[in-house]
C-alpha cells in the first residue's frame, strides 16, 4: 500500500508536471508530431538494429527511449497517469487514445504472425524444417520487437492526436 508520504510525493511530482514549461518547445504541434514519428520509426528499427549487433541495437533503442521520454513530458504523461489525476476530458481523450493504440498493436502482431505463417509455409514447400535458431542479438531483437512498440504506442498515439498542451 502507498504511504501518505509517497502519495504526497506523487502528487507533488504531478503538480510539477502539470505546470511544467521546460518542454513547451516539444508541445508545438509540428515538433510533437515529428518526435512521435521518429520514436515510432526507432521502435520499429530497434529489432533490426540488434540483428546488426548489440551496439547498433542499443544506439537505436536509446533514440527510441529519448523520444519516448520527451513525448511523455510533452503530453504531461496523460497516457500513464492514474485516473484520479485526470479530469473528465483528459480521461475521455486517454481512453480514446487506447482504442487506437490497441488496434495498432493488434495489427502489428497479426501482421507479424501472418508473415511467420507465410514464411513457414514457403520453407515447408522447399522441404526444409522451419527452425528458429536464436543467438544473443537475435533474442534481443525478438524481445524488442514486442517490447519497444508496446511501450511507445500509447504515448506516440496521444502525441499524434495532439496530447495535452
Amino acid at each position: 500500500m502507498v504511504s501518505a508520504k509517497d502519495t504526497q510525493k506523487i502528487e507533488e511530482r504531478i503538480a510539477r508536471l502539470q505546470n511544467d514549461t521546460s518542454f513547451d518547445w516539444a508541445r508545438k504541434p509540428a515538433v510533437q508530431k515529428s518526435i512521435a514519428v521518429a520514436t515510432a520509426l526507432a521502435a520499429l528499427a530497434t529489432p533490426v538494429g540488434f540483428l546488426n549487433g548489440s551496439i547498433t541495437g542499443v544506439a537505436v533503442a536509446a533514440v527510441m527511449f529519448v523520444g519516448y521520454f520527451i513525448l511523455r513530458a510533452a503530453t504531461r504523461e496523460v497516457a500513464e497517469l492514474p485516473n484520479r489525476y485526470l479530469d473528465e476530458r483528459e480521461l475521455a481523450l486517454r481512453n480514446a487514445t487506447y482504442v487506437k493504440a490497441y488496434q495498432t498493436a493488434a495489427t502489428l502482431v497479426a501482421g507479424l504472425a501472418v508473415f511467420m505463417f507465410i514464411y513457414a509455409i514457403s520453407i515447408d514447400v522447399a522441404d526444409e524444417k522451419f527452425a528458429i535458431e536464436l543467438g544473443f542479438d537475435q533474442i534481443q531483437a525478438v524481445v524488442w520487437l514486442f517490447l519497444g512498440p508496446i511501450t511507445v504506442i500509447p504515448t506516440v498515439t496521444l502525441a499524434l492526436k495532439g496530447g495535452r498542451k
Binding site: A92, R94, N95, A96, Y98, V99, A101, Y102, Q103, A105, A106, V109, A110, A113, V114, M116, F117, A120, I121, I123, D124, K129, F130, A131, I132, E133, L134, G135, F136, I139, V142, V143, F146, L147, I150, P154
Partner: protein, 201 residues
C-alpha cells in the same frame, strides 16, 4: 451527338438499379443496427452469469486448444472454429460494441465503457505478450541447461523447431487473443435479466 432512345433507356435503367441497390444497402444497414440495439433473441448471452460462463469457456478453449494442438499436432480446424465461435458469442454478448467503423452501434455509455475496456485490454495484452516472451526465453535457457549442463549468461544459441502446423496454431491463438481480450476487459457485468414480456426501454 444525341443519344439514341435505346441508350437513354439503358442509362435510365442502370440509374434505377443503382438507386435501388443503394436503398437496399441503407435498409439493410438500418435493419442491422436496429437488430443489434434491440435484439432479445440472444438475451441468454448477455446477462452476468452468461458472461462469466462465456469468458471462462473462451479462455479454456483458447489456451487449452493451443497447448493441445501444439503438442499433438492435430485438431487445428476444430480449434480455429471454436475460437471463431467464441469471438462471435462475445460480440453478441456485448451487442457488437467493439465493431468500430462507419456503423454507429454504440450509445454514449457503451462508447465510454468500450474505450475504458480497450485501455484495460492494452495493459493486459502488454503483460501477456511480455510474459510469453519471458516464458519462451525461460524454456530456451532450460533447453541450453539440459544440453550443456550449465547456464551461460549469454548462450550461443537457442533452437526452436516449428512446422507450419505449429505456426498456424500460434497464428490462430494470437488472432483469437487480440479479438477476445477487449471483450474480456469489458467486464463480467451484463444486462439485467428480463422476462420475454418485458419491453425494451
Amino acid at each position: 451527338m444525341a443519344k439514341s432512345k435505346l441508350e437513354t433507356r439503358i442509362d435510365e435503367g442502370a440509374k434505377k438499379i443503382e438507386e435501388s441497390a443503394e436503398q437496399a444497402a441503407e435498409r439493410f444497414e438500418r435493419g442491422f443496427i436496429n437488430w443489434v440495439k434491440n435484439d432479445r433473441f440472444f438475451d441468454g448471452f448477455r446477462n452476468t452469469y452468461a458472461r462469466v460462463l462465456l469468458i471462462s469457456l473462451a479462455t479454456i478453449w483458447l489456451v487449452g486448444g493451443l497447448i493441445y494442438c501444439y503438442i499433438y499436432s492435430s485438431g487445428f480446424f476444430i480449434y480455429a472454429i471454436g475460437v471463431a465461435l467464441s469471438v462471435l458469442a462475445q460480440k453478441i454478448s456485448v451487442r457488437f460494441v467493439f465493431t468500430t467503423g462507419d456503423l454507429k452501434l454504440a450509445d454514449e455509455y457503451q462508447e465510454a465503457r468500450r474505450n475504458r475496456a480497450y485501455r484495460r485490454a492494452y495493459s493486459w495484452v502488454t503483460n501477456i505478450v511480455t510474459g510469453l516472451v519471458m516464458t519462451i526465453l525461460f524454456f530456451g535457457y532450460v533447453a541450453v541447461y539440459l544440453t550443456d549442463g550449465y547456464i551461460p549468461l549469454i548462450p550461443s544459441a537457442f533452437e526452436w523447431n516449428l512446422g507450419p502446423y505449429e505456426v498456424a496454431t500460434i497464428l490462430v491463438f494470437f488472432m483469437g487473443l487480440f479479438s477476445l481480450i477487449p471483450h474480456f476487459a469489458w467486464g463480467f457485468k451484463g444486462e439485467p435479466f428480463r422476462s420475454k414480456n418485458e419491453p425494451n426501454e
